[in-house]
């Protein structure tokens, strides 16, 4: 396959940045999108040019690092995948492919396609935990009965890998799907219920402070989420926050 890539290049956070066109040839349809960029980077290094900086780690769809906005969609046109799981067979010979970093005020560009997602870490720090006594008399978590349906729903929410595709794809750069998944995974379980009201208020406050946009329920996040996190989580967070606001 021969392709034309239009990739965002930006030397650092202060640089204005620009789109650079790179023709790539002999791309195997079996390559992942990241392997294709690796090949391009090898060529760039051989030519003495700066390789394209991009985040990646596990390359098996669980770390959530490979943030690339490909042809107008987070992680490209495939559903339920991260960029490392996107294969070149999705594209056609001769295609022009645009590659941009996640665009959000809360996710500033570090370099090229790498963005700083520590806003997510600060949201987690604001309430994405449970306070437990670890001084030696810790309760066995398995001793507390959890209804199967609740455990399943909590687990589904906990599959969120914090990749930021929801923010990247939302027309408002809203982080509601991420935050609601993190609120839900704890709010559904008995251990998390103790601090549920404070948690949702603190996490929403931090989300707002970070400068994420508001949810308009377009549902784009759910479609683009590589882990299939459901909008039901956003509704649950809306309920949790409403009841916490009225009672705390």
């Amino acid at each position: 396959m021969n392709l034309t890539l239009q990739i965002w290049r930006q030397n650092g956070p202060q640089d204005a940045g620009r789109t650079v066109t790179y023709p790539v040839s002999n791309v195997s349809p079996d390559m992942s999108f990241l392997e294709m960029i690796d090949e391009l980077n090898i060529d760039l290094i051989k030519k003495g040019e700066e390789p394209i900086a991009f985040d990646h780690d596990c390359r098996e769809g669980i770390c959530g690092m490979c943030s690339m906005f490909i042809n107008g969609e987070a992680h490209g046109p495939d559903r339920g995948v991260t960029t490392c799981q996107l294969h070149m067979r999705t594209f056609k010979d001769g295609d022009t492919i645009t590659v941009e970093p996640w665009r959000a005020k809360a996710f500033p560009v570090i370099k090229d396609l790498m963005v700083d997602r520590s806003a997510f870490d600060r949201v987690i720090q604001a309430g994405g935990y449970i306070s437990v006594n670890t001084s030696g008399n810790t309760l066995d978590a398995n001793a507390i009965l959890v209804p199967k349906a609740d455990a399943d729903a909590a687990f589904d929410a906990a599959t969120c890998i914090g990749c930021g595709a929801c923010v990247a794809t939302c027309k408002n750069a809203s982080a509601m799907l991420f935050v609601s998944a993190k609120v839900s995974q704890l709010a559904l379980l008995p251990q998390g219920k103790v601090e549920a009201a404070e948690r949702v208020q603190n996490m929403v406050r931090q989300m707002d402070l970070e400068g994420f946009g508001n949810c308009t329920n377009t549902g784009a996040c759910e479609v683009e989420c590589p882990k299939g996190i459901s909008l039901e989580n956003i509704a649950r967070m809306n309920r949790e926050f409403l009841s916490a606001s009225l009672t705390h």
């Binding site: 789109t19 107008g72 005020k105 408002n172 406050r205 946009g213 508001n214 683009e224 409403l242």
Partner: protein, 228 residues
Amino acid sequence: MATGKGLFGSSLARKYWMALTGLFLCSFLVIHLLGNLPLMTGDHEAFNIYARFMTTFPVIKAVSYLLYASILLHTVDGLMLTRQNSAARPVKYANYNGAANASWASRNMALLGTFTLVFLIVHLKSFWFEMHFGNVPTVLIEGEEVKDLYTLTVTSFAQWWYTAFYVFAMAMLGFHLWHGFSSAFQTLGINHPTYTPIIKGIGAFFALVIPGVFALIPIVIYLNSLAA
């Protein structure tokens, strides 16, 4: 302890107000449409009695202030949310395929809302303002002088461009409701495997039928004016 800003200030609270005022405005649409139906059948007297009732009955007057407040809150809140949303992405994408994952209506609520507001201003000036403060000629109904809103309405819609503007505005309102009705329930935390599809169905029905019948009234009046 309480750390949030309660039901004011936070992004979620702004959305609750958006949903609550939006749903209240939906309920008003139903009442308004029912009152307009005599226009369709050409029932001169019934429409004028309804118009007088709506402008003079104390309960309706009280509710009307809630209605004006809702329109204002829905507008101001919407503007604030839209400004924040725009600020949340200072550098836009060169290539953004919004159609791949969300409906056109859901992505253009602010635009559709703005058009609805422009329509509302024109509409209120034409009928609400005239009925309340203008010199509308009167007719005698059961020995009582009543402002003849019926004739004012029928005369207005005899102009093709005025009718066309209304039909277009109702199409925009329809798209706004197509997303807005069910979206309000999600915002208020109602998302259920059984009820959400029903809510979405009611929302789609509401978005088609309410603006549809509203738009039909000026069309019928216009066609009648051609015949006469």
